[in-house]
């Protein structure tokens, strides 16, 4: 049995809302509200959800790029949420991030060599010669060539830039990579190249991924387990086989049925949800999904459902499946 590399318990992020002339605090945006999960070594955990569901905020809190309001993040036996900033900086050597926009996340004034060398300098790894060699090695690993090192980001296409972003994340030999929408800015044919590269690297370098995306097809392709988030909460978490074959949460069902399938012969019952996602500054009481849920019961408007294991390693937060309601 593999052990969890990362354990997240009760993670919360509340952003204060200030209003009025004096900037008095008038409420909170509950971007992430009590999220718990774990990631095993060598696996890929996908996190999906629509805009504003808190998936990116969760990713950032794991690295403490955003300070969590509450909750515990344990990485490789060490608790990250309570350590000092200096210790956290050291820990980031093992956790790296790949960002969505390859145009915005690379400094346009630096050559690729400088961009890739930066993490080595920050973490004080190797000397000048070995750093240079490592830059060239990793450029080859991600499918570029060593002569690309002298170029600037604007000289590359979107797909190539994302490869540079991945190379940068790999420079410090991390164990865990958090990829926040790494392929959503890319064209379909380039997206497949980058996904294949990420899978190859995972095998070769024994990496663990947290893959955050909104595209359910992409997430299914790359993930071993998938968590579905809605309004700051984890609605369902299961192995990707089980989640896609037999979604339990009404939101997951609707989400899966809404995804257009590239096959005109494929017919299915589409569940079209009414309305929009409510604002996270004023989330509905009880189950946050009850305003759009076709199976709403009285209990849903008052009691927050807990994420419970209803089948082996299939967790869902919905009153339809909780024992208390059934009996």
């Amino acid at each position: 049995m593999t052990k969890p590399l990362l354990q997240v318990e009760g993670l919360k992020k509340y952003f204060p809302i200030h209003s009025g002339v004096l900037g008095k605090q008038s409420g909170y945006v509950k971007a992430v509200d009590d999220v718990s999960f774990y990631v095993n070594e060598g696996e890929t955990l996908g996190i999906v959800g629509e805009s504003g569901c808190g998936k990116s905020t969760t990713g950032r809190m794991l690295m403490r790029l955003l300070e969590p309001t509450e909750g515990k993040v344990t990485f490789d036996g060490k608790e990250l949420t309570s350590v000092s900033n200096t210790a956290m900086r050291k820990a980031r050597r093992e956790i790296q991030m790949v960002f969505q926009d390859p145009y915005a996340s690379l400094n346009p004034r630096h050559t690729v060599e400088k961009i890739l060398m930066e993490p080595l300098i920050v973490h004080n790894i190797g000397d000048k010669e070995s750093r240079k060699k490592k830059v060239y090695d990793f450029l080859e690993i991600v499918g570029l060539s060593s002569y690309h090192a002298k170029r600037y980001p604007h000289q590359f296409s979107g797909g190539q830039r994302q490869r540079i972003g991945i190379a940068r994340a790999l420079m410090t030999n991390p164990k865990l990579i958090i990829a926040d929408e790494p392929v959503s800015a890319l064209d379909v044919s380039i997206q497949a190249q980058v996904l294949n590269l990420m899978q190859d690297l995972q095998k070769e370098l024994k990496l663990t991924y947290i893959f955050i995306a909104h595209d359910l097809g992409v997430v299914r392709h790359i993930s071993d387990r998938v968590g579905v988030m809605y309004l700051g909460k984890m609605a369902e978490l299961a192995t990707s086989e089980s989640l896609y074959a037999e979604p339990l949460h009404p939101y997951t069902k609707a989400l899966l049925s809404a995804v257009p399938v590239p096959d005109p012969a494929f017919k299915r019952e589409q569940i079209i949800l009414e309305g929009d996602i409510p604002s996270p500054s004023n989330p509905p009481t009880g189950c946050t999904f009850h305003t759009r849920c076709p199976f709403r019961m009285d209990v849903c408007t008052t009691v927050v459902p807990k994420l419970e294991e209803v089948k082996p390693s299939h967790f869902v937060a919905c009153h339809l499946y909780s024992e208390a309601v059934q009996h």
């Binding site: 064209d187 044919s189 005109p264």
Partner: protein, 339 residues
């Protein structure tokens, strides 16, 4: 089944941009047509010229630097490229309307939804009374499924969500009962559940109002679920055209095949995605031969020397690839055996 009448036909269209680096044909001799009440999909990746095609039809190509350098756009037999700006204005929005990808930037943030709808109507229906115009605006908001239409008239765009704004855009495009609606990536900026709502709305409206729709998108899933016929574009050329069934079940151009194979399917797990090697060429980069040759698995000598024409492989299904030239039958058989 009777064939419906062709309502819009694009013939040998070339739209070029005059830049410091020379003349770049963004859309290079393309042909396609759309029939009454049909939903036609135009798919392709960034830079393939699909948006420039739609802007050309609407007469909205930014000029300078852009210009239609060849061809005809026939709307009910009338050539739109020959019209004056004044004549074009009476067609645009009235007979042919367009909705854009980003509903926030296409609505004016300083005016209420009502103001903007009323402006769109009065522009084309000069003889209507104020009351008539307002009633029409509210009717349109109801038509696109927006709740509390009367109050919505007084709201500003920022008060609406992305999905609602896109509905307002659709309402605005439909105020004059256009015969053709061009939708350029209408759901790309929206979430999946909202995308499903908007696509359903567009299908319903197409059925009820019999408006022909040209849906421009990069998402093959959206095409498969919405369109009847598909035009696949690559680097400014139409590379394949056919009914949605033939394109997805029997794609013929290597690019179309590759594109379909590289989409991760939600229904089952592919062990490894097929990926087309290399990058999409910049417009104007490839001067000679087939534009896909450098990335093609089936490339042979002729591909880099001549530009392939469109070959009709079955009725209504055309492919721009030498593999389907009768003279190349041997090669064709070989690829059939390996695939």
């Amino acid at each position: 089944m009777t064939e419906r009448e062709i309502i819009l036909e694009v013939k040998d269209l070339q739209t070029s941009f005059f830049t410091d680096d020379g003349v770049i044909p963004s859309v290079d001799y393309i042909d396609f047509h759309i029939r009454e009440g049909e939903i036609l999909g135009i798919v392709g990746e960034s830079g393939c010229g699909k948006s420039v095609t739609s802007l050309s039809i609407m007469g909205l190509v930014p000029s300078p630097p852009g210009k239609i350098t060849n061809g005809q756009i026939l709307f009910r037999g009338k050539d739109l490229t020959k019209l004056s700006e004044r004549e074009m204005r009476s067609i645009r929005g009235n007979e042919v309307a367009m909705i854009f990808q980003e509903p926030m930037t296409s609505l004016n943030p300083l005016f209420t939804i009502g103001n903007q709808l009323i402006e769109a109507i009065t522009l084309h229906k000069k003889d209507w009374s104020k009351k008539q115009v307002k009633a029409r605006a509210i009717e349109m908001l109801k038509l696109v499924g927006l709740p509390r239409a009367e109050e919505l008239m007084k709201d500003y765009p920022h008060q609406l969500s992305g999905g609602m704004r896109q509905r307002v855009m659709i309402a605005m495009a439909l105020v004059c009962d256009p015969q053709v609606l061009i939708a350029d990536e209408p759901t790309t900026a929206l979430d999946v559940t909202i995308q499903a709502q908007i696509l359903k709305l567009m299908r319903d409206l197409n059925e009820r109002l019999n408006t022909a729709v040209i849906l421009i998108t990069h998402d093959l899933g959206v095409v498969a679920e919405t369109c009847e016929r598909v035009v696949v574009m690559y680097a400014g050329k139409v590379v394949e055209e056919g009914s949605v069934e033939t394109i997805f079940n029997n794609p013929q151009h290597p690019y179309t095949k590759g594109l379909i194979a590289s989409v991760p399917d939600m229904r089952f797990k592919k062990q490894r995605l097929y990926s087309i090697p290399g990058n999409v060429p910049k417009p104007g980069m490839i001067k000679q031969g087939c534009r896909f040759a450098a990335r093609c698995d089936f490339m042979f000598g002729r591909c880099t020397e001549e530009s392939p024409p469109l070959y009709e492989t079955s009725k209504g299904h055309q492919t721009r690839c030498f593999l389907y030239d009768e003279k190349e039958v041997v090669v064709n058989d070989k690829t059939a055996a390996t695939s």
